[in-house]
């Protein structure tokens, strides 16, 4: 900051707007100073609410005023309002260089006063980052205080509380792990589909023999990052099961809203479907989803859209940051236990999103066979 000789004749040569209306009688130290820079103060005969108005004719005069305020009154203006005029390029360059060498003054709100706000002016002003706002006469007289308060708060926080680094640690930067995971997914899914093709043919034939309708059941599911994809399973329910869901929801819902809708002894499940579910054979077609990249072998259960939309909250959205998978933490820890609440399942999903790594996936896959046979019919 440049050296300024203190003066005992404060604000010499400065116009004080509104000095005849009583505001000039109050000590300057106790007031918020509005420094207007321009030949004519648009509110010369009026008081701008909440401010003691000082007027400087040009940039040089304004800078002298700021120096006097600093040295004599130990304060800085609450706001600088610069009247837009034709020689703005020179004036803006002066202000830019002034703020560059007086960093502490960068926290003063700096407004550009004009009577005509055009798009050209707005785009021009955006190039000068020391200008915080454009104001007109109406703003000056009616809305100045909230604008000054907001910009002042922002600049104070911005100057004295540097922005925290955004947290980019938890879900990114796992390229090696993701590459390994995808390699294992494709290799294992392709191999399993080849090996299990006779089983798949047998299951398909059995489904077709038991009841009319499609062999596969497809539904839209939300996976990682809420990516919506077509989810494949062997059909285990009667052909129009989805249409009967609403009826069952009304019959079984506890009134609190079912985030994960499960019904014990669901009447829509066929006898063969019951066997396929208990043996998890119905899930073999999901290997196609794995090959397509919609899912992984290990991850969070991909949710039907009616369930997924209930989880886009601050507390639960984290579950969508992990991949969707055939097996996962939920399946090996508590699957099939009746006492499992929706909140517990979401917590497990979020837990997996935190721990998600190639090594952890391997551990879950090794433990999956022990959880394959379900005890309860849900």
């Amino acid at each position: 900051m440049e050296t300024i000789t203190p003066t005992m004749a404060p604000l010499t040569g400065l116009g004080i707007a509104g000095k005849n209306n009583g505001t000039a009688q109050r000590p300057l130290e106790q007031e918020r100073v509005l420094l207007f820079v321009g030949a004519a103060f648009p509110a010369a005969s009026m008081e701008v609410a909440g401010f003691r108005c000082l007027v400087a004719e040009d940039v040089k005069g304004a800078q002298q005023t700021i120096a006097q305020l600093l040295n004599v009154y130990r304060q800085i203006p609450a706001v600088i309002i610069f009247r837009f005029k034709s020689d703005y390029e020179t004036a803006f360059a002066q202000w830019e260089s002034y703020f560059a060498s007086h960093k502490v003054l960068c926290s003063i709100p700096f407004f550009l006063y004009t009577e005509d706000v055009s798009d050209t002016l707005k785009s021009f002003v955006r190039k000068y980052t020391f200008i915080d706002e454009i104001i007109t006469k109406d703003c000056l007289l009616q809305q100045l205080q909230p604008k000054v308060d907001f910009v002042n708060k922002f600049k104070r926080l911005h100057t004295f509380m540097p922005l925290q680094e955004q947290e980019k640690v938890v879900y990114k930067g796992r390229r090696v792990s993701n590459f390994l995971k995808r390699t294992v997914d494709v290799t294992a899914a392709a191999t399993a589909l080849v090996v299990l093709s006779p089983v798949m043919l047998a299951v398909a034939a059995a489904i077709r023999l038991e009841s009319k309708g499609p062999i596969f059941y497809t539904s839209k599911r939300a996976g990682r990052n809420y990516k919506i994809f077509k989810f494949y399973k062997f059909r285990t329910m009667v052909p129009d099961a989805d249409k009967k869901l609403h009826m069952l929801e009304n019959q079984y819902k506890d009134g609190k809203g079912a985030k994960f809708f499960k019904v014990a002894n669901d009447p829509r499940v066929t006898r063969l479907g019951n066997f396929l579910r208990n043996s998890s054979l119905d899930e073999i077609p999901q290997l196609l989803n794995v090959l397509k990249g919609d899912m992984s072998l290990v991850g969070n259960r991909p949710l039907p859209l009616y369930e997924a939309t209930t989880l886009t909250t601050d507390d639960w959205a984290e579950r969508f940051l992990a991949p969707a998978g055939i097996t996962g933490l939920w399946q090996i820890s508590k699957r099939g236990k009746k006492e499992m609440s929706a909140e517990e399942r979401i917590s497990l999903d979020i837990d997996y999103a935190h721990k998600n790594s190639f090594a952890y996936d391997m551990w879950l896959m090794v433990n999956t066979p022990f959880a394959m046979i379900q005890k309860d019919n849900v």
């Binding site: 706000v117 707005k122 002003v125 955006r126 190039k127 980052t129 915080d132 706002e133 454009i134 104001i135 007109t136 809305q143 909230p146 604008k147 907001f150 910009v151 708060k153 922002f154 926080l157 911005h158 509380m161 922005l163 925290q164 955004q166 947290e167 938890v170 879900y171 990052n225 809420y226 990516k227 919506i228 859209l305 939309t309 209930t310 989880l311 886009t312 909250t313 601050d314 639960w316 959205a317 984290e318 969508f320 940051l321």
Partner: protein
């Protein structure tokens, strides 16, 4: 050139989720509160749409929207409010802040959000083009 959306939310998972949902069609910039958003805007950046939460530290959504909607520099930027406390939003909210086009409650339907974003951004483009 892709349009730019500024997302302001103090929940990191929500920011990631919104980035992922909107990132295919738009350039997405995210800020953890109104302070970070204002810091970005004050550098001369102008998004085509702002999606903001209301309850945030430092500078919250209420303060931010009040400033932006009354500012000659920012009032033309449309905004969508996405909040977990819809009951605290007054009925005349959208009318009060003329830049706010929609208020959405968390949990939200991402497909519905995408549709609203498209309509607002395309609507703005139509206005500009006409």
């Amino acid at each position: 050139m892709k349009k730019t959306i500024l997302i302001i939310d103090d929940s990191l998972p929500i920011r990631y989720l919104l980035e992922a949902i909107l990132g295919h069609q738009y350039t997405v910039v995210s800020a953890q509160d109104g302070l970070a958003a204002m810091s970005w805007l004050s550098k001369g950046s102008t998004p085509d749409l702002i999606i903001t939460d209301l309850h945030m530290p430092n500078i919250d959504g209420w303060e931010l929207l009040a400033h932006l909607s009354a500012s000659y520099l920012y009032k033309d930027i449309p905004a969508i409010v996405i909040t977990g406390a819809l009951e605290s939003v007054p009925d005349d909210f959208v009318g009060k802040y003329n830049n706010v086009h929609a208020v959405i409650q968390k949990p939200f339907d991402p497909a519905n959000l995408l549709q609203q974003v498209g309509e607002i951004i395309n609507g703005e483009l139509a206005t500009i083009n006409s």
